[in-house]
């Protein structure tokens, strides 16, 4: 090692010299050495995180453009732009400037639409990404904390969306804020104060748009970027998970190097996502705020809904009965308890969110599986978890669909009230039904995999054996395809285990009970011995009972 801290290296080409200059000052060599050929596994279902990230970038680019024209003030102005039905109308500066962006700034309408579509895309991509992570068990050790960061991103994303939706100060979003005011007020003891503080006095006040603007363009994006940075740091640290398959183990990553293939695909994909969003912005109207009119506390309109990612909260509010079977609003302990508003949020929407955030620990507690998992589960190979995931989707969807109950009523010619009754039923029983069906489907798919491994693929070729029997020829799987179907675990229930004092506590009993439900029904991967026996079977005339049937453990 030279003591002078300077190398004597002289690059031969101009670009080499520039690279060397930079390297000497910031140490780029180390970064390139670390990441230049880093391996990333390739699978379509791994791309949704990228879609979310790219949508966020597009949101920041388009949002920055909008800030140059948007005026976040609630001061009343008289509109004199070029939208005829509002000429001479009094409105807030925020609404007037949104109309200007839409009608009087060239390309402003497009950027507004791109911004809004990108927001919907961002939330959708995050949700799908989260579902992928859930169903494949990618949240297991060592990635539990990153799951929580992801869940937090989803929640912060909802806040980002809601604050943005409220900014134009139109009737639709104003009524959304009014609902927020009602929700604040339902919080026991401090709710009224929270509402007064949030709006700077009584609803709607003259401050809230400015405050939401600060949140929407500064605090929330900063939080999002910080969380994204942590999320990506952890992805690099843990290296990406991979699906089971030939050549893949818990200790390696199989895929393509960042340079050039993966970087080209991921980089190209950014432009593709931008293209998709630009296409949506070009062809589909989104949030036609000019229809809604400037916010005014008197009017309201049919079809008052939030954007889809807030729908589950709005749906929960719709489904909870107010006075059935008893009044959910009553006086107790010196205050008014507004449970018909509080419970839908705390119990219905809140519990779905909390179960999601804490799932990795719930699963670990029941399964006692604290090993490192870098190989993903195929969803069918974790029937219980997959069932729970589908149950969660059904519960969430029932709430989200409830937020459009009025549109369902008009478009399918059914009664609004019936839609509510059905959805209440679905929210309560749908998840259970969905769980049972999904778990069975998973087990059936696992059995199908077993059949494939044991007997190969049906070729459709029928041959007659010398003794006259007709059989269909089955082609055995090659070892690569077979490995994908047999390389999974199927843990057995873990019975209750005594603690240090030799006693079995209530928690442990509960855990053991859950573990039993969890793993009671299961399909075990084919072993080489079984395959051998199956091959043998095919040639033997009779069925050997000893090698057949199922065994209980």
């Amino acid at each position: 090692m030279s003591t002078s801290m300077q190398s004597d290296y002289k690059a031969k080409t101009a670009s080499g010299r520039i690279a060397h200059y930079v390297d000497q000052r910031v140490g780029a060599s180390g970064v390139i050495k670390e990441f230049g050929r880093k391996i990333f596994p390739d699978h379509w279902s791994f791309m949704f995180g990228e879609v979310a990230l790219y949508s966020l970038v597009i949101l920041i680019i388009s949002g920055t453009f909008l800030t140059f024209f948007f005026n976040p003030t609630m001061t009343s102005v008289t509109y004199d732009g070029s939208y005829v039905p509002m000429k001479g109308t009094h409105m807030s500066g925020a609404y007037a400037s949104t109309l200007d962006i839409s009608f009087d700034v060239r390309g402003g309408l497009l950027i507004r639409q791109i911004h809004h579509w990108a927001a919907l895309m961002f939330m959708m991509a995050m949700s799908v990404h989260m579902l992928r992570v859930f169903f494949t068990g990618a949240f297991r050790r060592p990635r539990e904390l990153n799951w929580v960061v992801g869940a937090t991103l989803l929640i912060v994303g909802i806040l980002a969306g809601f604050t943005g939706y409220s900014l134009p100060d139109d009737v639709l979003s104003g009524n959304g804020l009014r609902i927020i005011d009602g929700i604040f007020k339902a919080i026991p003891l401090v709710g009224t104060y929270l509402s007064l503080f949030f709006f700077g006095g009584e609803f709607p006040g003259t401050a809230v748009i400015g405050r939401l603007y600060t949140l929407h363009i500064m605090i929330i994006p900063a939080l999002l970027l910080l969380l994204v940075a942590i999320h990506m740091f952890m992805v690099v640290l843990h290296k990406h998970t991979q699906y089971p398959g030939p050549g893949r183990t818990e200790n390696n990553v199989v895929g393509f190097p960042v340079g050039p293939v993966y970087a080209a695909k991921a980089g190209g994909f950014f432009f593709i996502v931008f293209g998709i969003i630009a296409f949506l912005g070009a062809t589909f109207t989104i949030n036609a705020i000019w229809n809604y009119g400037p916010y005014d506390p008197s009017p309201v309109q049919a079809g008052t809904q939030p954007d889809w990612y807030v729908g589950f909260g709005d749906g929960a509010l719709r489904l909870w009965p107010g006075v059935w079977p008893w009044p959910w609003e009553f006086e107790f302990l010196g205050g008014t308890w507004v449970l018909s508003v509080l419970l839908p949020f705390a119990l219905m929407a809140g519990s779905v969110m909390m179960a999601m955030v804490f799932w990795p620990w719930i699963e670990r507690w029941v399964t006692k599986d604290d090993r490192v998992h870098n190989i993903l589960d195929r969803p069918r190979n974790a029937p219980f978890r997959t069932g729970v995931g589908v149950a969660g989707i059904i519960g969430y969807s029932a709430l989200m669909i409830a937020a459009s109950s009025d549109l369902i009523a008009t478009h399918f010619h059914v009664s609004l009230n019936d839609v509510a009754y059905w959805l209440r039923f679905t929210f309560v029983f749908g998840p259970l039904i969905g769980f049972l069906i999904t778990q069975r489907i998973c087990l059936a798919l696992q059995r199908k995999d077993r059949e494939l491994v044991l007997h190969g693929i049906e070729t459709g070729q029928v041959v007659q054996l010398p003794h006259g029997e007709f059989i269909e020829v089955h082609k055995p799987l090659d070892e690569y395809r077979r490995y994908k179907l047999v390389s999974f675990e199927s843990p057995a229930p873990i019975p209750a285990q005594p603690n240090k004092k030799g006693k079995i506590g209530l928690m442990e009993k509960t855990r053991a009970g859950l573990s039993k439900i969890w793993f009671e029904d299961r399909v075990i991967a084919v072993t080489p011995a079984e395959l051998e026996a199956a091959h043998h079977d095919h040639h033997g005339p009779a069925i050997d009972k000893k090698q057949k049937g199922s065994l209980e453990q």
Binding site: G182, G247, P260, V261, S550
Partner: protein
């Protein structure tokens, strides 16, 4: 087909045919690499290259399309003009061209690069070993360092020093939190009152003209504001007062009205006035069905029965809509007898308290 995989037991089904066979299939390693057409056929490679170039050219054309839309389309005039739809058509066209221009510009680049990567860059799968996030060696060393740091800082040996530090660190940020106190006023009693008062005329929304009892024919619904609202400006509470004072005025057949004790004189010959603010979370409930006498909130579908003092008949609202007692003044115009007798809008912690106070004041 054999029925190897059918679980036969009644209670649990564990599908296997071998008892406790621990042996597993060995990992066969990566499958052999199958070359692509572009790997073996230089013509195909050349073709792929030309396709990528074409895609990049399409991207450039997309950018040109954008500029054509931006500079080449003349958008002027008034939008949504009933007599002249041309301005709308041009804006729609411009929006389409700008958007498609960007879309093509982006798709050209994106699809081009990805096509390049898929067909011309090597597609050999590679293997990289994973390493533990942290090693036992590092952990031991880090622990030692931490112990040294704690030891040298002396924080363990000087508990009072530590405790005062914790106290100061907890208190200091609270000073900043305190600053948020002035985000808004802290007197919930403002929720008790609205602009309605004895003798305040009911006027139409949005025109602001007073209403004669005779104007309110059977089946009508009037959206109503207090006349004194017009004296307020946006700076001194117009929106806030309007948000509480909005009222829906309806006329039902007096024989259909179900009036409870103490409210007999609150209607004028079947003309009733109720707060329009939903008692659920505050949306204006303005959907009035004149035959069923139901009021529906479009936000969460709370339904109130106007014939039955606007009690909740469906949906999530927790209490009936407050009624505004009305009368007719000397000129025949509808006026309020007083303010509402209970706070309007959604429930809140102090509401029950406020109702008692208001009963005392009345």
């Amino acid at each position: 087909m054999g029925n190897h995989s059918d679980g036969a037991s009644e209670k649990t089904a564990v599908v296997t045919s071998q008892e406790a066979s621990q042996e597993k299939f060995p990992n066969p390693g990566l499958p052999p690499h199958a070359p692509r057409l572009t790997d073996v056929d230089p013509k195909q490679a050349k073709k792929a290259e030309r396709q990528v170039i074409l895609l990049f050219v399409i991207s450039m054309l997309g950018s040109l399309l954008f500029w054509f839309g931006y500079f080449g389309i003349e958008v002027s005039g008034n939008f949504y003009d009933v007599m002249n739809p041309e301005a709308n058509n041009m804006l729609r066209l411009q929006n389409l061209l700008l958007g498609l221009g960007i879309a093509f510009a982006m798709f050209g680049i994106g699809i081009g690069i990805v096509h390049w990567a898929r067909s011309l860059m090597p597609d050999h799968e590679m293997v990289e070993e994973r390493h533990a996030v942290t090693s036992e060696e590092d952990r031991a060393e880090a622990q030692e360092i931490m112990e040294t740091i704690i030891e040298e800082s002396g924080i363990k040996r000087r508990p009072l020093l530590r405790n005062t530090l914790i106290g100061s660190v907890i208190l200091a940020p609270l000073t900043f939190v305190t600053l948020f106190r002035d985000l808004g006023p802290a007197d919930p009693s403002v929720l008790k009152y609205t602009l309605w008062d004895e003798g305040v005329r009911l006027v139409r929304d949005p025109s602001g003209t007073p209403i004669k009892a005779a104007d309110v024919t059977m089946g009508s619904a009037f959206h109503v504001l207090p006349e004194n609202l017009a004296t307020l400006t946006h700076e001194n509470g117009y929106m806030e007062e309007k948000a509480k004072a909005v009222v829906l005025l309806m006329r039902l057949d007096p024989s259909e009205l179900n009036v409870s004790e103490g409210r007999e004189d609150w209607n004028v010959d079947g003309i009733i006035a109720y707060s329009k603010v939903c008692t659920h979370v505050g949306c204006p409930i303005a959907l009035y069905e004149q035959r069923t006498h139901h009021l529906l909130c479009p936000c969460h579908q709370s339904t109130f029965d106007a014939a039955n003092e606007c009690k909740v008949v469906f949906g999530p609202a927790g209490h009936a809509l407050p009624q505004l007692p009305i009368a007719v003044d000397s000129e025949g115009y509808l006026v309020a007898q007083s303010d509402f007798r209970e706070p309007v809008g959604p429930g809140y912690w102090e509401r029950a308290q406020h109702i008692k106070e208001m009963a005392g004041e009345a």
